[in-house]
Symmetry: C2
Subunit: 206 residues, 2 copies
C-alpha cells in the first residue's frame, strides 16, 4: 500500500479524488486537507509518529502557501519524498518552478483519471512524470525574457495601479518605473502594461 496525502482547497474535488484513489487497491489515502499548512503539519506528525507518508498530491493554487512552496517544504523535511502537483492552470512557469523545487509529478486536471493513480505509483517508485503537453509548452516557452525588476514592476502593474502607485510600492522613481514597464512591453511585443502583465502571466513569468 502506498500511503498518500492529498491537499486541495476545494473540498468537493478533494473528497472525490480521495474516494477514487481509495478504490485502487495499492493506494491508501491516509488523509486529505485543505491547505499547504495543514499538509505540512500532518506530514511532520506522520514522520514523527514513525508512519511516514510516501506521496503528497498537492493542488497548485491554494489559499496560504501554494502547491510548489508546500512541496518545497516537504522536500526540506524529507529529501527525496514523493511530491506531485495537480493543477487547473498549466502554465509553463509553474512547471519549471515545481521541477526546480524537486517535485516529481506534474499533472493538469484535464488528465484522464487512470493517469493519476499511475503517476502516484511512478512517483512512489522514484520516477518522474510530467504531462507531455505541459512539457512541450514549457520547452517552447523558454526562459523569461524579463529582467528581475521588469518582472517586479509588471507584477505590481497587474492589478491596475497607476505608475505612481507602482513606483511607491517598488521604491522606484516614476520615471524608472515607466522605463521598466516600457522595456517589458517591448520585450513582450505589446503596447501597454496591462497586456504585458497578462502576457507575462500566461508565460508564468510573474
Amino acid at each position: 500500500m502506498i500511503p498518500v496525502l492529498l491537499a486541495d482547497d476545494e473540498t468537493l474535488i478533494r473528497s472525490a479524488l480521495a474516494t477514487m484513489l481509495d478504490l485502487e487497491d495499492d493506494i491508501d489515502v491516509v488523509a486529505h486537507v485543505e491547505s499547504g499548512e495543514e499538509l505540512l503539519a500532518l506530514w511532520r506528525r506522520r514522520v514523527d509518529a514513525g508512519e511516514p507518508v510516501a506521496v503528497a498530491v498537492i493542488d497548485l493554487q491554494m489559499a496560504g502557501i501554494d502547491g510548489v512552496d508546500t512541496a518545497e517544504q516537504i522536500l526540506l523535511l524529507t529529501p527525496g519524498a514523493g511530491t506531485m502537483i495537480v493543477t487547473s492552470h498549466g502554465r509553463p512557469g509553474y512547471l519549471k518552478r515545481a521541477l526546480t523545487a524537486g517535485v516529481r509529478g506534474f499533472l493538469p486536471k484535464t488528465t484522464p483519471a487512470a493517469t493519476l493513480a499511475a503517476v502516484i505509483r511512478t512517483v512512489h517508485s522514484g520516477g518522474r512524470y510530467v504531462d507531455p503537453e505541459l512539457a512541450a509548452d514549457a520547452i517552447s516557452a523558454g526562459d523569461s525574457l524579463l529582467s528581475a525588476r521588469e518582472a517586479d514592476v509588471l507584477e505590481l502593474a497587474a492589478d491596475g495601479s497607476s505608475v505612481e502607485e507602482i513606483a511607491q510600492r517598488a521604491h522606484l522613481s516614476m520615471g524608472t518605473t515607466r522605463n521598466y514597464l516600457s522595456s517589458a512591453m517591448a520585450k513582450l511585443g505589446v503596447s501597454n502594461r496591462y497586456e504585458a502583465a497578462l502576457k507575462a502571466r500566461e508565460h508564468g513569468w510573474i
Copy 2:
C-alpha cells in the same frame, strides 16, 4: 435511481466526481462529458431514446458554451429539468444569471462532498439549493450599477485593448467608448479601466 449527467472540462475531476456519485445507491451517473455542447447532444439523444436524464450537474467554466448557457439550453428542451451548477469561482453575478435561467442548484467546489449528492436529490425532487454563503454574497452585492453598454465596453477592455480596438470591436466611436469607460469607472469608484474591469469582474457584472 436518479439518472445524472455530468459536465466538466477537467477530466480528472469529472471522473472523480462520477466515481464518488456512483457509490451512492440512488444515483446513477449515466455519462460524463467535457463540454456543454456534448452535454446538450447527449441530453437530446437520451430524450429521443425515451430514457431522459433527470439531473444535469454542470461545471460553470468550460471551453465553448459555459455552464449557465448549457443549463438554459437544457431547460429549453426540457422545461423543469433538474439542472445544477458547480463552480470554483463563486461570483454573485453568475449565481444570479443561473437562477434567472432556471437552474435549481448552485454549489461552489468547496462544498463538503456529502452535500453534492444531497443537492442532486433535492433538485431531482423539484427543490432548490443555493450555497448559503454565495446567496449572502449575492444579496449584499446587489444589482449591477453598470448599463449594458458600459458592461460591454468594460468587458472588451479587460484584455488590455486600447480604446481604438475596443471602439472597433464594439462598433462605437472612440469618443463614445471613452465616455462609457469613464462613466463605468466613476460608478465603480476607480481611476482607470483596468481596475474597473477587475472590479466589475469581482462583482460578476461582466
